[in-house]
Amino acid sequence: MDEKNDTRTKIKMRRERINMDDGRYLIFYSFDGEPAAARNDGKLHPDENDADEKFVKP
């Protein structure tokens, strides 16, 4: 399925890292759901997923 016609959910991920009292770290991952259908306007959009921007091969 090509990206333009993929109506499945695309998600923007955010992370918040905290340090716990014993020195260990913990990362909260949160997500903003964005239905691809809302963006299926036939136009190309920049990928807003922070993780994907770094990792998708050119």
Partner: protein, 332 residues
């Protein structure tokens, strides 16, 4: 105390981690260290009343970023090194009684994004040579906490099972010019009878050489080495095929199905591994609804597994339980 001790006979490292003997073991349901911390309630590992997905350093790690000094002095014969690395827990959902199979496909997709981020984050550490993302599920595989979660071990070396795969893939590429796992995917697509489920980007099959009755391998169809190579489509395709496979597992005996899920990616030691190929391996210990496959003499002592079943028959059983996936936001 924890340290790494080298086995000169097998050429591999073993970790001692004595603190793990006292790790949390089947806490009562009203206390779960992986649940959200309820307002006014007993604090858990996660200091929030709700969360989506969380990753944190394991409280009882085998590897640490600042390791303890070894408990014993090594020498030229018996090498010892500090157990330097990272052990993380990834909590899949705030729902205590859920499993990954129970979660909507969107949650599995989020988890893939988290796995990708953890692979990149930990792989960038200069003392990490391999990031191993995995899940132990079910009492039958020794799970001590029921809340749905997986783990990540960031090793300071390439672990032996992956090293063997790297070696065979490299040799095959040198001899033929082709990728060994691409060849496996092609064979399974052509033969069909061992395929459990596939989509545009992934294929899950019981291997020709399966060691456990329901051992299943999930291969990327495109030749890639790690989560960080995925396209957006591949991330979502993996979420779908994982959902389908996990639901099929549960359908086999109409109960939550124990397994070890082992994600095999390229090392992160800066080497070139373009001959390797991303895949996920599942080792379910059940051989029937009431019987486990134990690793006995031939398996544990000699490394040769004996499978009492035929992969083609088991694949047919699993295929029967594969169901289509519906995305909540899918536009029909």
């Amino acid at each position: 105390m924890s340290e790494l001790r080298f086995n000169p006979l097998l050429g591999e490292w073993t970790a001692t981690a004595t603190a793990r003997q006292d790790r949390t073991f089947f806490p009562p349901d009203d206390y779960c260290p992986l649940c959200p911390t309820a307002p006014g309630g007993f604090p858990t590992e996660i200091p929030a009343p709700d969360y989506d997905i969380v990753a944190f350093e394991n409280k009882f790690p085998s590897l640490r970023t600042i390791p303890d000094p070894p408990s014993i002095q090594g020498d030229d014969f018996y090498q010892v090194r500090p157990a330097k690395g990272v052990c993380e827990v990834v909590v899949y959902s705030p729902r205590h009684t859920a499993t990954l199979a129970d979660e909507p496909v969107e949650q599995i997709y989020k988890l893939i994004l988290v796995w990708t981020d953890r692979f990149k984050d930990l792989g960038d550490l200069d003392f990490v040579d391999y990031v191993f993302e995995f899940e132990n599920k079910g009492e039958a595989v020794g799970v001590t906490l029921h809340h749905p979660h997986g783990q990540i071990y960031a090793y300071p070396f390439v672990p032996p099972v992956v090293q063997r795969e790297l070696d065979t893939c490299r040799i095959y590429r040198e001899q033929t010019g082709r990728c060994l796992i691409c060849g496996i995917v092609a064979e399974e697509k052509a033969f069909k009878s061992r395929v459990v489920v596939e989509n545009d980007s992934f294929l899950a099959a019981i291997p020709f050489f399966a060691r456990y009755p329901y051992e299943t391998h999930l291969y990327a169809k495109r030749h890639l080495q790690a989560f960080t190579d995925f396209t957006n489509n591949e991330q979502r395709d993996l979420a779908e095929v994982l959902k389908q496979l996990l639901v099929a597992f549960d359908g086999l005996f109409d109960r939550s199905f124990p397994y070890i899920m082992s994600i095999h990616q390229r090392p992160t030691d800066g080497g070139v591994y373009d001959y390797y190929h991303f895949h996920i391996e599942f080792y379910p210990p059940m051989r029937s609804a009431t019987r486990l496959k134990f690793l006995a003499g031939s398996e544990a002592g000699a490394g040769m597994f004996i499978n009492d079943t035929l992969p083609e028959d088991k694949a047919a059983e699993l295929r029967f339980h594969v169901e289509p996936v519906t995305w909540a936001m899918n536009r029909l």
